[in-house]
């Protein structure tokens, strides 16, 4: 992965619009957050291979970035995104890595299901 290039990510978001795609969306502060700091409230959410179709999408911000997808009857968004890769299967993999390089959020879109 490399630091997000807004233009390149926007082109990929545009290319995947209007067709059925598979979504991986994840936020996490790690399973040890409360173990390491008992005053920390641990929360996260995870969805893998949700099939969606978005009308349009955008990546916004100056870094970290936010990405939002407008569905016919709903929305998907992620924030804190810092890095991306368009992998050898043409999937858009975005992640937000915290100040120590640990993954805090992932938002990925693929034309075929994730394994």
């Amino acid at each position: 992965m490399k630091p997000i290039d807004r233009v390149e990510v926007q082109q990929k978001i545009d290319a995947l619009a209007g067709s059925d795609v598979y979504l991986h969306l994840e936020t996490t502060n790690g399973a040890y957050a409360t173990h390491n700091d008992e005053s920390f409230f641990s929360a996260g959410a995870y969805i893998r291979n949700a099939m969606i179709r978005y009308e349009h999408g955008k990546i916004v911000g100056d870094g970290p970035y936010r990405a939002g997808l407008k569905l016919e009857i709903g929305w998907v968004y992620g924030e804190g995104l810092t890095h991306f890769e368009i992998d050898d299967q043409g999937r858009l993999l975005m992640a937000g890595l915290d100040f120590n390089g640990k993954l805090a959020v992932a938002m990925q879109i693929s034309a075929s299901p994730f394994e």
Binding site: H24, A95, N100, K102, Q108
Partner: protein, 224 residues
């Protein structure tokens, strides 16, 4: 360390064995005891992707699978089983199915010792779910026929509630293998090990003391 017929190690993530158990495993292997390591997931949800990142969410499982194979080779494990569950989802699996899976390993391998996490004292939901499944499976065996069950515990309340660990293995004879095992899980341990040396001779004495002792609690079965 007592002589064992067969040791069965059951953990949910590649690298769960590294810091607290790899020396014990390597010691058993060196003594000629067969060791089976059953690893439930590939650590797909690991948060360390390298800094700068050399992995993605999608490539991480492939990298960690290879790290697990490398680690098993270093420890000398002949029988490594990857069970195909997904990181962070073990507690949501069907409990009876998980128990049966554990029972089938026990029936097949007839271990005299099983090593896993102590339910209630192992912090990560996958650790807890794995430990619970193993305890359920062993609990179905008649008390006098059960294998020994040595558990890893590290929650903040473990000493207070469980007391001192009753099994302490001195693994200093295999500490180089242990350090190499930890290092094999590179994607997860590299940043932490940056300050460590290549071999035991040059490693910080405080780290070495921590590495050389592996601690386990015998599972306390409720009174019948």
């Amino acid at each position: 360390m007592e002589k064992e017929r067969h040791v069965l190690v059951i953990f949910p993530h590649p690298d769960d064995e590294a810091f607290g158990v790899s020396g014990t495993i390597a010691s058993y292997v060196e003594n000629g005891t067969p060791v089976t390591y059953a690893c439930l997931t590939l650590g797909e949800m690991g948060r360390n992707l390298g800094n700068p990142p050399f992995a993605t969410r999608e490539s991480l499982p492939k990298i960690r699978r290879q790290e697990l194979v490398d680690a098993a080779n270093i420890m000398g494990i002949q029988d490594l089983r990857m069970l195909g569950f997904r990181d962070k989802t073990v507690e949501f699996e069907d409990d009876e199915e998980l128990t049966k899976k554990m029972s089938s390993f026990i029936e097949e391998l007839n271990p005299s010792l099983i090593i896993t996490f102590y339910p209630g004292y192992s912090v990560h939901p996958d650790h807890e779910a794995t430990g619970r499944a193993v305890v359920r499976a062993v609990g179905r065996i008649a008390p006098d026929a059960r294998p020994k069950l040595h558990c890893v515990a590290f929650s903040n309340n473990s000493l207070e509630e469980l007391g001192e660990p009753d099994i302490i293995n001195d693994i200093s004879a295999v500490k180089d293998k242990k350090i190499a095992t930890i290092r094999a899980h590179r994607s997860q341990t590299e940043s932490m090990m940056a300050s460590w040396s290549e071999n035991a001779q040059n490693t910080d004495p405080a780290i070495l003391r921590w590495i050389e002792k592996e601690r386990f609690w015998s599972y306390k079965w409720p009174k019948q």
